[in-house]
């Protein structure tokens, strides 16, 4: 699976600076994603969480800084290496980003067809296997994205992101717009899949519950920089005013403190 020798960091970001016109969104971000961990990203709305994710996956241009994915510097990568990287990450967009003109099955098969050229039979089988892995019935295979509920769209999006058995999974607010039960189920799903498939997960989220449940490490983005990074315990212990109001605010659950301490 790996395109290079063993490295502890699947993603390494150094001094990343990103501008939107004249407005500086990210100003020297340093962060790394370790192999096999779930890294949760939090920050105020507009702090640049999604910008960071979109810059790493190459959708936004950066002003300066270094981004290394699977040991390859994105700026110095050859076309072939770039294609290899594309094949080794899966991205779940906030709204699912399913191709509306294709059925659910064809959506999941799309990257498989493009990259692996398998027999039609195996392609379909893998697509159905992926759909079943994310907890959907094989019958959704023939449905169109417009016929699905919000939670199902996210699941199909996840199945598509996982289609090629990637090493890195980007999740952009995976539980936003889901009811608490579906959100909880989705958290559980991410956790199970991450464990079984051994994926490293980069998750942008607003959901305190998912942070607590799914993430190994949390990074807090503010003022264009990483304010703090570490485990939930570290976050709860931090004295930074923003972190205090975020993790001890009105939406925080009292039982975390108990759980963390106990």
């Amino acid at each position: 699976m790996a395109t290079n020798g063993q490295t502890d960091h699947v993603i390494k970001v150094r001094d990343l600076v990103v501008d939107f016109q004249s407005h500086r969104v990210l100003n020297g971000v340093n962060v790394e994603l370790n192999r096999g961990e779930v890294l949760g990203f939090v920050g105020a709305s507009g702090a640049g969480k999604s910008t960071l994710a979109r810059t790493i996956i190459g959708l936004l241009p950066k002003k300066s800084g270094i981004i290394e994915v699977l040991g390859v510097d994105i700026d110095k990568a050859t076309e072939e290496q770039k294609r290899a990287i594309d094949r080794h990450w899966g991205i779940l967009f906030q709204q699912g980003a399913l191709f509306s003109s294709l059925t659910v099955g064809k959506n999941v098969e799309f990257p498989i067809r493009e990259y692996l050229r398998l027999s039609p039979k195996l392609t379909t089988e893998i697509a159905i296997a992926k759909l079943e892995m994310v907890g959907l019935s094989p019958d959704v295979y023939r449905e169109y994205p417009s016929e699905l509920s919000g939670g199902m769209v996210k699941r199909v999006g996840l199945a598509r992101a996982l289609a090629l058995d990637p090493e890195i999974l980007f999740l952009d607010e995976p539980t936003s717009g889901l009811d608490p039960i579906s959100a909880g189920d989705f958290d559980q799903l991410i956790l199970t899949l991450q464990e079984t498939l051994g994926i490293s997960v980069f998750m942008v989220t607003h959901d305190l519950d998912s942070l607590h449940r799914v993430c190994d490490r949390i990074a807090v983005l503010g003022d264009g920089k990483i304010l703090e990074a570490g485990t939930m315990e570290k976050m709860l212990a931090s004295q930074h005013p923003w972190l205090v109001s975020y993790f001890h605010g009105a939406r925080a659950h009292a039982d975390w403190h108990v759980r963390v301490k106990g």
Binding site: S119, P138, S146, D165, L197
Partner: protein
Amino acid sequence: MAAGTLVGQAHGDVVSLSAAGSWTAEYARTLDALVEAAVHTKTAASVIAIDVAQIERIDTYGAWLIERTLRAWKTRGVDTRLVGLPERHRGLFEKVQAGTQTLSALPRRENRVIATLESVGRTMTLLGQDVVLLFQMGGAVVAAFLRVLVRPHTFRFTSMVNHLERVAWNAVPIILMITLLIGAIISQQGIFHFRTFGADIYVVDMVGVLVLRELGVVIVCIMVAGRSGSAYTAELGSMKMREEVDALRTMGFDPVEVLILPRILALIIAVPLLSFIGAMAALYGGGLVAWLYGGINPTVFISRLRDAISLQTFEVGMIKAPFMALVIGLVACVEGLQVQGSAESLGTKTTDSVVKSIFLVIVVDGLFAVFFASIGI
């Protein structure tokens, strides 16, 4: 790293297969062929065991291929076993084994004739509903208009002026351009064909009557439907999508009075103005071509035009304009309010709005033609 392998050994009626190497997506194509070949090998074995202990790397692809092989043998009544499964891959195999792969059968194809008839029937009902909605909207607009007449201060004059600027003033350049070209083309074609009979001068009659009675207003209406009708549908549709229309209603305002009446009145004022400008531009274009291409002197053109057309010809054209404006406005607003939550529906409704209003403009033009013919104008 090497592609995965599958090597077999037979001990009596027990066949042991040993899988090794990389059983991952990269090699799935080779592995697919490998396991297919294994499954199709004739064997009298009653027990088949696959040993996966030697596998270095495995992902969903490899796990599924092994699982598929085991399932294929199982259906043939062979006893299958998976041995040497390392702890780190257990979760993956469990996930893959849990998959049922049962896709329900495709729904039976309906009889093609019946399906066609059914779709025709559905379309007709939809068409009927469209007509009903159009009349409902017409009624609601008239009611809102009457209410505004009673209480003039409730009329959104600013809104109407704003729409007037967008549908009338901003449309002038494109309307001038198009109608000028249409006039020029009619004139050129007329001269080209009339010349054979030596009847060049009659091109003035043709251009005058055609432009003032029919084409001027119809071309302008088609432009307005494409330009402003679609904009109305898109605006109202996105307001509907974002629940702005519902918000208005809950505050006690009538969306027809606030949103639709100013738009439709703006159109009713704009289309006659644009039709007039358009007709003049078309006559100008026709005259220009008649002069440059047909050698008909402008003075001759104008005096001939004076004989050929009467004020009535002009009136017949202009009287149609407000009615067509009303049709375009009503269709655009009906479609706009039918937009559902998704962006796709906004797109389809906008397209529908343009297609339907252009169709209805031409139908209305036809009705007027019949009407004028029967009263002898």
